[in-house]
Structures are given as structure tokens and as C-alpha cells.
């Protein structure tokens, strides 16, 4: 923590927190103390329309600001006294100048998230040469050409200031007219506010990692399972998780227990309001500026046409719902046909709360707020054990089914294969493990492979298998069971490995055997995905088979042809690692403080493949360069700045390494970032 504690947080204040996290009506940012209710009202109303700053010249002041979202006064970190910070509206082709003055008692900074700009303007202290943050009382002048258009955002990259409110939207109007039309344009910034000091949140997570999780399975769930599945069914389903000491409800580290979820700075009690006239097309620019919260967004009664992802136009996709990872942005167009109010509903992934707003033709109309969905359970797929159960990855045809004749699998005797620990198994390289549907695998030692039994394989309704029927489910030969240690594989010390054999066609999403670096073994890593799959068309835990059309990464297709059609020259595989219980996060088992920078060559076309060796989603954000996400069609690769790597999955993207200098590369979950971070140097 690099600034003094701004909070008067005393133990005991939060006894009744659950009542408060819905928010205080008419809460929000206000200046001074002892304001009467009329000024509070005015402050709240003002918040409905956040300030928009336009032009090429901006003066931004970072300061402290009294706020009250929950009934308890707190101090937030804001820009020009506003939370979220003012909307910055730029024009593509302009050069913008931003004089940022720091009135905090601590060093600050602003990072322009998703912007392609010179390294020194990127705003991450200690990464680019010459930028060490903005000292108290000082003014730093950012100046850079705007070379893109769309919806982006900005936030502090210092201390815990982003969690305490320093984030705001950027809208860049394109030089050429958009390919779609709309009559109204709203920014919808989603965020999470806590009354606690973020330092306390972090230390609580270190002391008791499930501190904020009040959705664990309890007695009632057990009774329901026993009734539904019987004793042995229940036992089998839970056995592996219990053996592995992991929770199927480990969905979010920080939850609605402490968070009040905000939409454009409005609590759920207030709700943000956007007006429309019947028949108008409304553009909604969703930005997930939360520290730790993934939101599932829908507007009951309206189809949303997704026209841009991370600021970049895509071929429009019509959906009912989308999941927005931390730091992502999605632009959607809606066309309300009726003279009625609609709820903008953004529930947190773990269903511990929601942010909300209303689209309405009239302030007097209110829309019903939907019930939150039930709390989902993580599945085997979310642990990187491919049981063919998520169906998601079934993409380009039957690639996964080829080469299925290997059936023998020799496992050294004495090894028990239980749950994730089988990733520690040393299978002779090249061996395939087939027939996952067998209830038992014969092993020399006579041990059974628990956690792989067919009974567990049958997932309860909510989970898994969206597009897959049971017959497909029975097809597992050809699955490679990994955990093989290959010698060539030298990912130690966090260094990337260069792999000679690139996939000739990267849209062939056959998952190769996975290799785990020696640095991934030890007390700091509690899991290694044994069989991580590409799951681009998996909407993710809690959204599978929910009866709604949910956006997935497989839907993302660039509106324009691939910017850089070169095949990758080089491939880098990075594993996202951690120990949930000890609350430690790293890449390839090496945390930032111990890692060498990742080196990229100027001019190369690089493929980065992530393997997620944890049970959490990690939104990975590369600064300074686009992440060209391989979603299936190499001719229309969408460009993103933040790529969500689903639990236990793998995903790959291409990077045109065209930005010299040093860059940050990290998980955008606020309390993961400190360890799950790399410095990238391009030279």
C-alpha cells in the first residue's frame, strides 16, 4: 500500500453489511459533509449524467472524494471529483494532451486501457523508462496520437486506487462513419465498490481465502443431492472435489458480501436510468471497470446486437446475454419496440449480487428486476479435466476424435490417480489415455482412477454440455491425457519456450498434450490442468444451457479482414497458476517479483497460448499491442486488449509485435495482478 489509509474502517461497523450492500438510495459521490437531503438528491441526479469531456486538451485532477454508497461515509479516489471518472470523448486521428495533476498524498498514475500508444504514455509506473508515476502535487502531461476508435477506459495503475474509484470511460469517435447506425449513445460502466480498505480485503484473502464466499455448498445442498442422486451418486460426484480439497463454488474471490455493484456509479437501490423513444436504436457501451467482478449482462425483453468487442467492430451477433470479464468492453445496439421500461441487469458471476439500471421512455416507468440465477457449480472441465462434457470446444469438426485407437495406458504402479493430482503423474510421453467413459481404468497397481469415473461424468443439469447430447458424450477415445513431462520444455524461471512445431492451421483447435514447467510444482501451485481444451464456444460456468442465447468468443468475427495475415513466427505458452488456499498467483509458477521479463522481437508475429491451471477466470491484458484472438476464422480475426482465459482451459492469440519498449502484461483481477504479471520488453 503506497498511500495512507483513507478509511475509518473499524471492526464491528460491518455487522449488518448484507443489508447495506444493496446500497443507500441516493448514494454516490458528494462533496463535503453535512449536506442536506436536497443537495444529496442533486448530487445523485447529477450522477445520472456523468460529465463528458471532449476535445484534444484535458485537465484531469486525481483527488480524494467523500462518497456514501452503503450508508457509511467513505473516501474514494476520483478524477475531477467524479466516480466513475468523467467520460473522455476523443476523435480518431487527433493528438490528445492530458495534464493529470495528482492531489493524493500518494503516487498515482493513469493507464489508458486498450490504447495503442508509445510506451512512455502508457502510464504504468516502473515499467516504461522514465515514468515512475505522478508524485503528490505534481502534474504529468500525457500526449499521444489517437490511432483507433471505439469504447475503452482508463484507470489508475498505482496502489489500490482502481478499487477505490479511479476508473472512467473513453469513447473515440471514428474518422469514417460507423458501419451501423444508432440514435442514442450511452456508456454503461460496471464496477464494484467496497467500504473496506483494499489492503484489508487482500490480507483477509491471504488469511482465509474463502472469506467472502457465502455460497459454499451446505447441508441443504447435500440433502437435496442425496434425495436426487442417492448416497453413492452424491458421494461419487463430490469425491474428487473433496479429495482435491477444492470447492465447486469457488467462483469469485471477492463477492457481494463486501461489494456494492455499481452501474455508472449508481447502486442497485438507485439504478442508473437511460432514456429512449420507442423505435430508436440505442447504443450501449458496456465497460467492466470492476476490480474483481465478472458480470453476466442481459436486458429481459430485448435482443442485443453485439457490434464491438474491446472497442473493435465485429460482425454483429444477436444475443440475449453476454458475460463481460474484468476490463473488457462490449458495444451493443438495442431497439426497444415498446413504450415500456426495460431492466439492464448485470449479475455477478457468483450470483452474490448485481448492478442494474433501467432503459425507459419515461422516468415514471419502472421495470421489474429479474431474479438472480442460481449459484452454479464448477465442473470437471473447469479444472482442465476434459471429460467432453462442456461441449463448448466441439468446434472445428471432429478433429478431436481423430487418432483414437490408442487404448493402452501404462501408469507407473503405486501411483493413485486422484483428481488433479494426476497432473503430477508421469505418463510415458506420447501415451494416450483413452476411454474416459470406462468406470475404472486398469492400472498395474490395481488402483482405480478416482475422479474419472463415469458416474461423476454425469453432470447435474445446470452444468456443462450445452450443445452436446449424451451420445457424443461417450466418445472419448483420442483424448490425450497429459501430465507428461517433455524434456525440451524449458519454461523454468518464467521464460517462454519456443516451440518449433506450429500448428499448420491454428483454427484446428485440437488440444495437444499439455506440458507443465518444473516451476509449476511446489507449495505455491495447487493445480495443473491435465487436459485443458480450447473452449471458445463455452459460455462459461453458470451460463451453460440456461435457455438464453449467450455470447461466446467463438461468435467474435472481425468486421474487417485480419489486420496482419502472417502466420505466427513463434509460439509462447504461458500457464496461469496459483494456490487458491494460500492466495498466491503466478505465471508458470513464477510470480512477477521473481520473473525475468518476457522478451518479444520487434516485427515478429507471435502466438501466445494460455493454459489456465486454476479454477478461476483470468482476464489477461497485454498493454501496447493487440491480442488477435484465434476464434476459428483466420481471415477475420477479432482484436482484443483483454482475453478471458476460462478455468482449466486453453486459448491462443496472435500478437503483431510492433510497439517498442516495455509493457505490462497481467491478469486484470485486482488481487491477482500483483503476482500474475509479467513485464514485456519489445526490442
Amino acid at each position: 500500500m503506497s498511500f495512507k489509509k483513507p478509511y475509518s474502517y473499524e471492526g464491528g461497523v460491518c455487522l449488518m453489511r448484507r443489508r447495506f450492500v444493496q446500497g443507500l438510495a441516493m448514494g454516490g459521490a458528494f462533496t463535503g459533509l453535512g449536506l442536506g437531503s436536497s443537495s444529496l438528491l442533486a448530487a445523485a441526479m447529477k450522477q445520472q449524467r456523468p460529465a463528458i469531456l471532449r476535445g484534444t486538451d484535458f485537465d484531469l485532477t486525481i483527488g480524494e472524494q467523500a462518497v456514501n454508497f452503503t450508508g457509511a461515509p467513505r473516501i474514494a479516489t476520483t478524477v475531477n471529483g467524479s466516480l466513475p471518472a468523467p467520460i473522455l470523448r476523443w476523435r480518431e486521428g487527433d493528438t490528445v494532451t492530458l495534464r493529470v495533476t495528482n492531489r493524493l498524498p500518494a503516487t498515482s498514475s493513469i493507464h489508458w486501457h486498450g490504447l495503442i500508444l508509445p510506451s512512455a504514455m502508457d502510464g504504468v509506473p516502473g515499467i516504461a523508462k522514465g515514468f515512475n508515476g505522478i508524485k503528490p502535487g505534481e502534474t504529468f502531461t500525457y500526449r499521444f496520437p489517437v490511432r483507433q476508435s471505439g469504447t475503452y477506459w482508463y484507470h489508475s495503475h498505482s496502489g489500490f486506487q482502481e478499487q477505490t474509484g479511479l476508473y472512467g470511460p473513453i469513447i473515440i469517435d471514428p474518422k469514417d462513419p460507423e458501419s451501423f447506425t444508432y440514435d442514442r449513445d450511452y456508456v454503461v460502466t460496471l464496477s464494484d465498490w467496497t467500504d473496506e480498505d483494499p489492503v484489508d480485503v487482500y490480507s483477509k484473502l491471504k488469511k482465509l481465502s474463502h472469506y467472502y464466499n457465502f455460497n459454499e455448498r451446505s447441508h441443504a445442498d447435500l440433502m437435496a443431492d442425496l434425495q436426487e442422486k442417492g448416497v453413492s451418486g452424491t458421494w461419487n460426484e463430490r469425491k474428487m472435489w473433496n479429495q482435491m480439497r477444492m470447492s465447486q463454488r469457488d467462483l469469485s474471490d471477492v463477492t457481494g458480501y463486501t461489494y456494492t455493484f455499481l452501474m455508472n456509479g449508481q447502486t442497485p437501490a438507485d439504478g442508473w436510468v437511460g432514456l429512449f423513444k420507442k423505435g430508436e436504436k440505442v447504443r450501449l457501451r458496456f465497460i467492466n471497470a470492476a476490480a474483481m467482478t465478472f458480470f453476466d449482462v442481459r436486458i429481459p425483453g430485448l435482443k442485443m446486437s453485439v457490434v464491438a468487442a474491446d472497442g473493435q467492430n465485429i460482425e454483429p451477433v444477436s444475443v440475449d446475454e453476454f458475460r463481460i470479464g474484468v476490463a473488457e468492453t462490449y458495444d451493443v445496439i438495442v431497439e426497444p419496440k415498446d413504450d415500456r421500461a426495460y431492466s439492464l441487469f448485470a449479475q455477478s458471476l457468483d450470483r452474490s449480487g448485481y448492478a442494474r439500471g433501467t432503459l425507459t421512455p419515461d422516468h415514471s416507468l419502472i421495470a421489474p428486476i429479474p431474479e438472480m440465477d442460481s449459484v452454479p457449480n464448477l465442473t470437471h472441465a473447469d479444472m482442465g479435466m476434459n471429460m467432453m462434457d462442456h461441449g463448448g470446444h466441439s468446434m472445428p469438426g471432429d478433429q478431436m476424435m481423430s487418432g483414437m485407437e490408442h487404448s493402452q495406458h501404462q501408469i507407473p504402479s503405486g501411483q493413485v490417480m486422484q483428481g488433479m493430482e494426476h497432473s503430477e503423474l508421469q505418463l510415458p510421453s506420447g501415451q494416450k489415455m483413452s476411454g474416459m467413459e470406462h468406470s475404472e481404468h486398469q492400472m498395474p497397481s490395481g488402483q482405480t482412477m478416482s475422479g474419472m469415473e463415469h458416474s461423476q461424468h454425469q453432470m447435474p443439469s445446470e452444468q456443462a454440455m450445452p450443445s452436446m447430447d449424451h451420445s457424443q458424450h461417450q466418445m472419448p477415445s483420442g483424448q490425450t491425457m497429459s501430465g507428461m513431462e517433455h524434456k525440451e520444455h524449458g519454461m523454468g524461471n518464467g521464460k517462454p519456450m519456443a516451440m518449433k512445431a506450429l500448428k499448420p492451421n491454428p483454427s484446428d483447435f485440437t488440444a495437444r498434450p499439455v506440458h507443465h514447467a518444473p516451476t509449476e510444482y511446489g507449495p505455491h501451485v495447487d493445480m495443473r490442468a491435465s487436459n485443458p481444451q480450447y473452449r471458445l464456444d463455452d459460455p462459461g460456468v453458470g451460463l451453460r444451457n440456461n435457455g438464453r442465447r449467450v455470447l461466446t468468443y467463438a461468435d467474435l468475427r472481425n468486421l474487417y479482414p485480419t489486420h496482419d495475415p502472417r502466420e505466427p513466427d513463434r509460439e509462447m505458452e504461458l500457464h496461469l497458476t496459483g494456490n487458491m488456499g494460500r492466495y498466491m498467483w503466478s505465471i508458470n509458477g513464477v510470480k512477477h517479483a521473481d520473473a525475468e521479463p518476457l522478451r518479444m522481437k520487434l516485427g515478429e508475429r507471435l502466438r501466445i497460448t494460455f493454459v489456465n491451471d486454476t479454477m478461476m477466470n483470468h482476464p489477461m491484458h497485454l498493454h501496447g499491442m493487440w491480442s488477435d484472438l484465434e476464434t476459428g476464422d483466420n481471415n477475420y480475426i477479432p482484436r482484443k486488449h483483454t482475453v478471458v482465459v476460462q478455468p482449466g482451459s486453453r486459448i491462443s492469440y496472435r500478437v503483431t509485435v510492433d510497439a517498442e519498449g516495455s509493457w505490462a502484461y497481467h491478469c486484470h483481477l485486482f488481487y491477482h495482478m500483483l503476482g500474475m504479471f509479467r513485464t514485456v520488453t519489445v526490442s
Binding site: 500500500m1 491471504k206 447441508h219 480439497r245 501451485v525 494460500r582 492466495y583 498466491m584 500483483l674 503476482g675
Partner: protein, 233 residues
Amino acid sequence: MMKKIVSAMMAMWISGTALAGGADDPLLYKVMIDKLEIRDTDEGNALILDADAWVGKDLNKLWFKTEVERLDGATEEAEVQLLYSRAISPYWDLQAGWRHDSRPTPNRDWLALGFKGLAPYLFEVDASLFIGESGRTAARLDVEYEYMFTQKLVLSPEIEMNFHSEDDPDVGTGSGLSDMQLGLRLRYEIRREFAPYIGVNWARKFGDTADFAREEGGSTHDTQLVAGIRVWF
């Protein structure tokens, strides 16, 4: 003493956070008063304290453990352990250090070596080996489980067993399995850090330990109702 340790830890914590500057692995401390309870024993109401504290970083910590039993205003049993704790696997810490028993008298000092962690199926285990003076050795196994009735109402069965290599009549312990306690406590977490509880504790002494107790006129087995609080910060 406790106060001093806590304030020393506080000082370390404060300087730690100041130095950390946003680092991923700050110096932290945790004090866990696992049991502060009244037991209705055959001999009267006993006051029990069972507490731990640690200060350190992710993988290396300094641990302090204490168990105290007071009866009728007199301390019957008191033990402290000061341990270095090192994470050796995802779920297990190796702990080594010093154990001092100040009650019953005479004092006993031990080298302590143990494993503390989470076993498969989510059992919390603390297993220790103690090497005392003149070749005495002892072992202790403590296993606890948490069953969640609701998100806040937790039933926690626990078993503790003590073994000794030889008789030590001065302090009343006999060789072999000396004593065992089975506990069942139901706590309500008003918040994570604060939970009152009620429960039952079944205690039994075996072999020579039981004989020593009988000679002293004490009981060898007892079923006790307990009420207390569990607090951490």
C-alpha cells in the same frame, strides 16, 4: 506477555505494509483464538484457551501456539510452542521449534516437529512429534472437520490424541496412548472473525496416565458441556 507479542507483531505488520508498496506478498499476521471456553468438568468449571498466532509471508511464517486450562483460579495445564513454519506442499506446512509446558510442574521442554495442513476430504490436521529431555518422546494428533449447516452455522467435530514413549509420573503422563479428547462444537459465525459456540467434549485418560490420575483422586473420563467463542483477526 501475549499483549507484548501481539503489539510486536502489530509493529512488524505496520512496517511490513509500509515497505510492501503493493507487493504481492506482504508481511501479515493472524491471531486465532480457536477455543476460549468454559467446560463443565467433574471437578468444576474449567476455563480453556486454545490459540495460535502467526506472523510471516506466504511460505514462511513464525508460529505461536498455546493451550491453557484453568480450574478454580489455578492453572492446571499450560503449554506454549514457538515454531518456524515452512510451506512444503500446496496444502502442508512443516513446523519445527520449541514447546514448553509450564503446568503441571515440573516444567518440561521439548523439541517440536510437525505437519500442519489440509488433508484430502478437507480434514484439518496438526500432527506433531515432541522430543523431550532424557529421551522422552511424545506425539500428538489433532484432526478437525467442518460441516456447514448453513453458510454461518458450522458443526465441527474434532479429535485429539496424545502419546508418550514412557511414564512421567511427576506430571502424570503414562506411556502409550495417554489421553484422547473428542469434541463436537456448533458455532455461529456472526461474522467470519467472531463466532460463539456450544458443544460437548468427551475426555478420557488411558493406561498409566489414568492410574496417575486415580492416585491423585482425579477423574479418568468425563463428558463435558462447553460454551465459548472463536475469534480471529
